[in-house]
């Protein structure tokens, strides 16, 4: 008779057992804020399509302290998303060879963050320019 009886351990709560996984769940969790923010924008877009009065209702709603507070949280969450998105980048993209040398992980993350900073500055500048 076969005496083997391999024991399979449960995966329950695996993400609580290691700080690395806790961090992973947090950066995955930023998706909830991305979804909520897209929902807010979508709602605004629908209001915009319904005319000026409707748009102003939505715009006024944004001034409520609940919305402001939520947007501050969303800003933090999306900022963390930006950071973690480029942090994992060296692992997710093909190796970049510059002058016969493989680009270091930090160089990749750093350039990603620099591009993001530039993109955001450009966006702010553009919006400011258009609104003036």
């Amino acid at each position: 008779m076969n005496k083997r009886r391999p024991y399979v351990r449960s995966m329950d709560g695996w993400w609580r057992k290691n700080p690395f996984f806790v961090e992973y769940m947090i950066h995955e969790g930023t998706a909830l804020f991305v979804a909520a923010y897209a929902g807010i924008l979508l709602n605004g877009l629908v209001h915009l399509s319904q005319g000026e009065a409707a748009w102003n209702v939505w715009l006024l709603g944004l001034k409520s302290s609940w919305y402001i507070g939520f947007h501050v949280l969303t800003l933090i969450a999306l900022g963390y998303h930006t950071y973690t998105w480029f942090k994992i980048m060296p692992r997710t993209m093909p190796p970049v060879v510059v002058g016969g040398q493989r680009l270091s992980a930090w160089a990749i993350t750093g350039s990603g963050l620099a591009v993001a900073a530039a993109a955001m500055a450009a966006l702010l500048g553009l919006v400011w320019g258009m609104a003036r």
Partner: protein, 132 residues
């Protein structure tokens, strides 16, 4: 199972091609877009404009936003932001449900991607309704 059997078994299994690339590509595009612009967008629409700081007071006034949404580039930008943010979030949340042990499979998939789909359709409809 001896080695020859194992090899034969493996040779004869036909593997099902995953359709994940569709969702993965949308996830990646939305992730990149939100990493590049997300925090600044949240700052502009959720904090600066409602509080009337940094940007001119009428930055998101009805005439401004209508003009932006009627412009082809503006339309494309709004659509890409809303739709891709939704697909990015849907994909992450779908995987996170699996991660925390909710293997609802088709149900969870329909809910996550279904909502993203609905949001995409609404966004497209609203942008068309706004006109050119």
């Amino acid at each position: 199972m001896n080695a020859t059997n194992a090899t034969n078994a493996m040779k004869t299994t036909t593997r099902k091609r995953s359709n994940a690339p569709i969702f993965w590509a949308l996830f990646g595009a939305g992730g990149m877009l939100s990493a590049l612009f997300g925090p600044m967008l949240v700052f502009i629409t959720g904090i600066a404009v409602p509080l009337g700081v940094v940007l001119p007071k009428d930055t998101m006034s009805y005439p401004h936003m209508l003009a932006f949404a009627q412009n082809l580039i503006g339309k494309g930008f709004i659509f890409a932001i809303i739709a891709l943010f939704l697909w990015h979030a849907a994909h992450r949340i779908f995987h996170s449900l699996h991660d925390i042990g909710i293997h609802a499979g088709t149900g969870a998939k329909l809910l996550c991607y279904g909502l993203a789909m609905v949001g995409t359709v609404i966004a497209a409809y609203a942008l068309l309704a706004i006109g050119f």
